[in-house]
Amino acid sequence: MTDPIILVWLIAIPFIGGLLSWIGELAGGITYPRWIALGTMVLVLFLSIWLWLSGDYSMSGIAVPGAEPQWALEFQAPWIERFGISVHLGLDGLSMLLIVLTNLLGLMAVACSWKEIGRYVGFFHLNLLWNLGGVVAVFLALDLFLFFFFWEMMLVPMYFLIAIWGHNAPGGKGRIYAATKFFIFTQASGLLMLLAILGIVWVTHQATGAWSFDYEVLLKTEMSDEVQYLLMLGFFVAFMVKLPVVPFHSWLPDAHSQAPTAGSVDLAGILLKTAAYGLMRFGLPLFPEASASFAPVAMWLGCVGIVYGAFMTFSQNDVKRLVAYSSVSHMGFVLIGIYAGTEAALQGAVITMIAHGISAGALFILCGEVYERLHTRDLREMGGLWSRFPYLPPIVMFFCLAALGLPGLGNFVGEFLVLIGTWNVDKSVTIVAATGLIFAAVYSLMMIQRAFHGPAKSDEKLEDLNRREVATVMSLMALLLWLGVYPQPVLDTSAAAMQALHVLYAAAGGGP
């Protein structure tokens, strides 16, 4: 049995590494922070992979009715005893997968900023690593206070990443506007979640006379239907803004188009997933009945997101905005999968999260690399790039094909499972959602056409990807291929949790 203190280290190492990076810059110069940050991320990535390989994920942190959640690893230490708040961390298959994803993309984010970030490198890595540490903490927290604490805290470094190192894309409203919008959207919705958290805690307090923010205690709270519905909405709004769900998505394209590459990778690859995780870990298990009765609304919101996101994607000229809107579309599948609540749909949502994290992360890295060479992200300024560098276009095409759901790559598995799982729940939702696959093909191929084919703007050869960049994207390609061809290890890891979620949700009247 592994010592559960390792969970604390998973959170603490990025925080310490971030501080060291900053000190490194102050003490030594701008090359130190990069190496320190890289070392930190390699360390936590290995730590998390080792945990994954060595752990037993046949138990579920999501409890079926009448049972206690069971964690592969659990850590608890008192924190604010006045309110029964503790530092309670738990690891199960679902959180394990997302932590590996976080640390993997975190490593990529450090790698892709190697050349891009030239100013205040130490402070940049401090923010990046603190953000990653905060996300990992969100995936581990089992105390609602702790969860909220990190949920809000991780936004601050993200805000700085956009506001200080962002771009002022021409035509956009500027990086500070984007950063502020992002921060206000997410914080304000977070406050609603805080209200809901305090609400459920208060209901528990009324019933038992004791204060507790602990997940396992609050799971047992008895609530009237109206209260449950209200509190569920409080959580849902916060997750809806972060996921994002139309009509609360408008911060996302702005944030992405102005963020530095690492920020975009972080946002699309990781931060959006915290919302889906929140729904799976807290939203559904805490309020199963309310969620079940809310499911049709949520699924249709997902459909709106898929179709609207796809149409908006199609009309973008800025490559990063394009990828950002496609994220809105793909996250619609995740939302539908979660609220369909069948095992296949839930597993599909998990795979979609991971695959989208990798493919969108990779696309943002590639956008950043194109930008470094062309100094524009406008599709109208591109065209004919295929003749100007040999390696980058086919790699972009690979990830576009992944995004449009080509069988054999991870995204296909995820979206296919979601659609299969949803068919028996709601046929019309499935049909509308399935159109998303077609639209995805349209906008992805359109983007390739506009960027890489047609007459070249200039004959000048562009510097192609260097070894660092090739290594980054090749490893992501390999992972996506692995996820598409042999997703079984991933499915096995999350199976127990998703099975339990399905049982819990079905017992509350959700699903078919």
Partner: protein, 487 residues
């Protein structure tokens, strides 16, 4: 009247601060020297603080000293808070006044007297001592606000504060007289008891009196619609005095208000709490909305303090199991934060120039010049906005919890909305500091600001702010020890 030894022990803090004021005055008469006069003042306050802590540690029941003052755990706790805040102001003033060309030393006399007033308020359980304390606190403040009197803005602020404050005092006196005419006592405890016996809560004269008291308190706490003086006075006052105004004077008034509400059962007058709820609601919204338009950081902090006092009122109105505890936590987190913010402004400014460094433009690109100063002001702004890991979050958490406990849904909605609006202008300050350098740098903190006492103090405040935000358990326990028993 003879005092027992225990009563002397309990009264000693008030006597000691009064003694400090006299001692500093005499010291100035003997030899005018900024450093040693200031040190004397700080030494006196420190000794008092030490004594308060000793008494608090060995606390065994409240001491009523004459009908006017009570020294209980609650009073001792706020003694300590007021003294700490005053000490911080004193160190800031020292850094700030170094460049002042006029007399620097009298500032410390005024500061000690004002602190004395705050101590009296903290232990007042009688309307007479309420009024006396408030005046002892306010009168030195007029002079402190106008201390840099060669600056027109400072002088204007002082006069404005003087006139409006006098009007508020008149309201307070008239209100007390009306209340007395109905209840026949000025002591909180007895008033509560008599109100309980009769159905006196709805009496029209009583309500009129209580409302007038509320007007005066609303003025001191700068609640809407009695807030109009706040931005001007904050802007005109020297930065350390602004810090004192925003912290000590608010804390002291709030402390006595809470005591009146709990022990004098003022909180049970339904009409009064309804009026307060309305005041809280508009304070939160007006304060936050008006802060959006400020380009002067002191005015911004003034409007933000209006909003924060509105949040505090929510806890006061909630009045349940939580109220005293929530108010305590909020007062501490808020004071530490505001003091830190004003501290940075004070370190940036000096009356040497024609004005304080209070224009947001002065802070442009500060991060690339003075990263440590920014590393202080940024967390302070985030704390005012109530972001987790800062103290402000714990305060806001308490307020919302108290509100939910009492079912004050409208006020909670206002708190949430206000916080969302607030994010915008706090972030604007933060972002300004990270923007590119302006062409010419008008203001700059002295090179070795961190070596100065003021700088060290602000650093300590930042540290304290993070401790409060990350591990608030000890302070919560302390505040629960210093609870306020109902009459």
């Amino acid at each position: 009247m003879t005092f027992t030894q225990d009563q002397w022990v309990a009264l000693l803090p008030i006597l000691a601060v009064a003694g400090t004021a006299v001692a500093v005055m005499i010291a100035i008469a003997i030899r005018r020297n900024h450093w040693w006069n200031a040190t004397l003042c700080v030494a006196g306050l420190n000794a008092t603080l030490f004594w308060v802590l000793v008494v608090f540690y060995n606390y065994d029941g409240p001491q009523q000293i004459t009908p006017l003052l009570i020294v209980d755990g609650y009073a001792l706790f706020y003694y300590a808070l007021v003294l700490v805040l005053t000490l911080a102001t004193a160190t800031l003033s020292h850094a700030y006044l170094e460049g002042h060309r006029g007399h620097k030393e009298e500032h410390y006399v005024l500061l000690s007297v004002a602190a004395l007033g705050a101590l009296v308020l903290a232990s007042s359980n009688h309307f007479a001592s309420f009024f006396l304390g408030l005046e002892i606190l306010s009168v030195p403040l007029y002079a402190m606000v106008a201390y840099v009197w060669k600056d027109a803005r400072s002088l204007e602020a002082g006069v404005k504060y003087l006139i409006l404050s006098a009007a508020a005092s008149a309201f307070l006196l008239f209100g007390m007289a009306l209340v007395y005419s109905q209840v026949g006592t000025l002591a909180f405890g007895e008033m509560g008891a008599r109100l309980g016996q009769t159905e006196g809560f709805g009496n029209a004269y009583l309500l009129a009196g209580a409302s007038m008291i509320l007007v005066a308190v609303g003025f001191k706490l700068s609640l809407v619609p009695f807030h109009l003086w706040t931005p001007d006075v904050y802007e005109g006052a020297p930065a350390p005095v602004g810090a004192f105004l925003a912290t000590v004077s608010k804390v002291a008034v709030f402390v006595v208000l809470l005591r009146w509400f709990v022990q004098g059962r003022g909180g049970e007058m339904a009409a009064l709490t309804d009026a307060l709820a309305a005041i809280a609601f508009v304070s939160i919204l007006v304060g936050n909305v008006l802060a959006l338009f400020q380009t002067n950081i002191k005015r911004l902090l003034a409007y933000s303090s209006i909003a924060h006092l509105g949040y505090l009122l929510v806890a006061l109105i909630a009045s349940g199991e939580f109220a005293v505890e929530a108010v305590g936590v909020y007062l501490i987190t808020y004071s530490v934060t505001v003091l830190g913010a004003f501290g940075v402004v004070a370190l940036m400014s000096s009356p040497r120039g024609e004005r304080d460094a209070d224009n947001l433009y002065d802070y442009r690109g500060l991060f690339w010049r003075r990263p440590l100063l920014v590393a202080i002001l940024t967390p302070m702004m985030l704390s005012l906005a109530g972001i987790p890991i800062t103290a402000g979050f714990i305060g806001k958490f308490y307020v919302i919890a108290a509100g939910i406990d009492a079912g004050l849904w409208w006020l909670i909605a206002a708190v949430v909305l206000g916080s969302a609006i607030g994010l915008y202008y706090y972030l604007r300050v933060v972002v300004t500091m990270f923007m590119q350098d302006p062409e010419r740098l008008k203001f700059d903190a002295p090179m070795h600001w961190a070596q100065q006492v003021g700088g060290v103090m602000v650093l300590l405040l930042t540290l304290l702010m993070f401790v409060l935000g990350i591990y608030p358990a000890p302070i919560i326990e302390l505040i629960r020890l210093a609870g306020l028993p109902a009459a």
